[in-house]
């Protein structure tokens, strides 16, 4: 396409060098203001926010300022920006729909940061998945399961789920139910169990352990043992203590019964031994 002389002259006549200079200055000021605000936001928020959120906020501030000043500069140059803004709005809506889940995860990540239901290193259970929190980033939370499998949970799901933080407090209670036979001496069993609990170094003295008969069940007298342990050791104590309680009962000759049922028959039952049956048949 060739541009004839008259068209070129028309275009050149429309350009006002003064407007261009002012627009350039406005844009440059915008860049400077954006840069300064970016540093300010980053330095302020880094004190109480994770680095990734602070950095993201600083960048967002910078780009918003630059876009605002760019639109102002275009306006100064006499370019009608209403169409641009409209197009930008429509693009924003389209992007909003397309990036809905990403934005949702992002916002959830920020809210999770503020609420702080857990921190890296905590043992948590989210949506039935339990493990140690390895990383909380802007889009997702990563948990290392007890089986060594890394689980990535989107922040939106974490935010809307019930979260059990197992290690949020320094101590945790463990419960065991041990059934002893009705014929056994319950007081002897109580003393045996108490001795095991008191000897264990990681069972806390305070809050005090509780041992009591919880239920007179169908086949056994159920004794409940409740102890408090340091939260970081609860799994180790659980494994060790249950074993020691069982062993102590066995060593003391206290029977842990199987479920059993006594059956009473209305009419007498005739029992035929094989020898008798042979005689009957002959």
């Amino acid at each position: 396409m060739t541009l004839n002389q008259s068209t070129l002259n028309t275009l050149l006549s429309r350009i006002n060098l003064e407007q261009i200079a002012v627009a350039t200055i406005v844009f440059a000021v915008g860049l400077l203001v954006g840069y300064l605000l970016r540093i300010l936001v980053h330095r302020t928020t880094i004190r109480f926010m994770p680095t990734y959120i602070s950095s993201l906020l600083a960048k967002a501030t910078y780009y918003v300022i630059v876009v605002i000043f760019a639109i102002m500069a275009l306006g100064i140059m006499g370019i009608n920006v209403s169409g641009l803004i409209l197009a930008g709005g429509i693009l924003g809506i389209i992007l909003g729909f397309a990036l809905q889940s990403i934005v949702s995860n992002l916002v959830s990540g920020i809210f999770l940061y503020w609420e702080r239901p857990f921190k890296p290193g905590d043992i948590v259970e989210i949506e039935g998945m339990a493990g140690t929190v390895v990383d909380i980033n802007i889009m997702s939370t990563r948990i290392l399961g007890f089986d060594g499998i890394m689980i990535r949970i989107p922040n939106e799901k974490v935010f809307t789920s019930t979260i059990k933080n197992i290690t949020a407090k320094p101590v945790r209670r463990l419960e065991f139910t041990l059934g002893i036979a009705y014929k056994e001496d319950a007081e002897k069993a109580y003393n045996v169990l108490r001795e095991v609990v008191e000897k264990h170094p990681l069972v806390l003295v305070e809050p005090p352990p509780e041992i009591y008969v919880e239920e007179l069940a169908d086949s056994s007298v159920n004794i409940k043992v409740r102890v408090w342990v340091p939260v970081r050791e609860w799994m180790n104590v659980r494994k060790e203590l249950l074993w020691k309680l069982k062993k102590a009962l066995s060593n003391a000759g206290i029977e842990i019964p199987f479920p059993q049922r006594d059956i009473w028959l209305r009419s007498p039952v005739k029992v035929i031994l094989s020898k008798d049956r042979d005689q009957e048949e002959s």
């Binding site: 407090k169 320094p170 101590v171 000897k199 170094p201 990681l202 806390l204 003295v205 305070e206 809050p207 408090w228 340091p230």
Partner: protein, 247 residues
């Protein structure tokens, strides 16, 4: 045969508070030491390489479990078997005990290194405070007395603590528990004996809900300052802690 804290020459027999016997022996060669400890049926051996190795026994606050590498807590909760009552605006000097175990260190000059820990007490922990915001402390039941000589018994497992009890309130206070931070305290021992003592603690009831615990400096007169395991050292030594009342 050696006796008490200090340098171990060849062999030592330790009988703990629970009457459990431990025998430690060392065999020195040119450039190594073979360390053996027998407690009950358990026997451990360690080979220590180096020339002019010195093996030393010294008291360590009983906050390590299951070995010297893991400090469970920095607090000891002293539960007084008989609570003590202090009149308004009065002070009292008393003595009590804190649990210690025996740390075994090796050195070839200046640097000392912990290689073993002999438990002299049954480890027990307790929560001081509420489940929501309490802290886990080593639990120790102790008698309190105004006569220091009561604790001159020559048995490992305990260190003597001098207590200054002060009541700044205008009402009587009853003290039954004292929570102390062992990282802010020092331990001294008298070589060739099982006597250990700590820096003085001053317990001051300042409000109806709070007490201050101040840790005084200690000069080990006719005694040696015990080395702290590296895990028990803090970059900033606290000279004062607070404890809430009512638990």
């Amino acid at each position: 045969m050696s006796k008490g804290y200090g340098e171990l020459k060849d062999k030592i027999e330790i009988t703990t508070q629970q009457q459990q016997k431990t025998v430690i022996t060392i065999a020195k060669n040119n450039n190594k030491v073979i360390y053996t400890r027998k407690t009950g049926n358990m026997e451990i051996h360690r080979i220590i390489g180096g020339k002019d190795i010195k093996v030393t026994l010294q008291p360590v606050f009983s906050v390590f479990y299951p070995d010297i590498s893991k400090q469970y807590t920095e607090y000891i909760l002293i539960k007084l078997r008989s609570p003590i009552d202090i009149a308004p605006q009065e002070t009292l000097k008393a003595y009590t005990t804190m649990p210690v175990d025996i740390g075994v260190t090796v050195s070839n000059g200046e640097k000392q290194y912990f290689i073993d820990l002999v438990f002299c007490n049954n480890m027990k922990l307790a929560l001081y405070g509420s489940v929501n915001e309490g802290i886990i402390a080593r639990y120790h039941e102790a008698n309190i007395t105004t006569n220091k000589n009561v604790y001159e018994a020559n048995k490992p497992g305990l260190s003597i603590v001098e207590l200054g009890l002060s009541n700044r309130l205008n009402e009587w206070v009853t003290i039954s528990k004292i929570l102390v931070n062992v990282n802010a305290m020092k331990l001294c021992y008298k070589p060739s004996t099982w006597q250990a003592y700590t820096s003085k603690i001053v317990f001051t009831a300042i409000t109806r809900l709070t007490a201050n615990i101040a840790y005084h400096s200690i000069s080990c007169v006719n005694a040696v300052e015990a080395l702290k395991p590296h895990t028990a050292k803090l970059p900033v030594i606290k000279h004062k802690t607070s404890m809430p009342w009512g638990y």
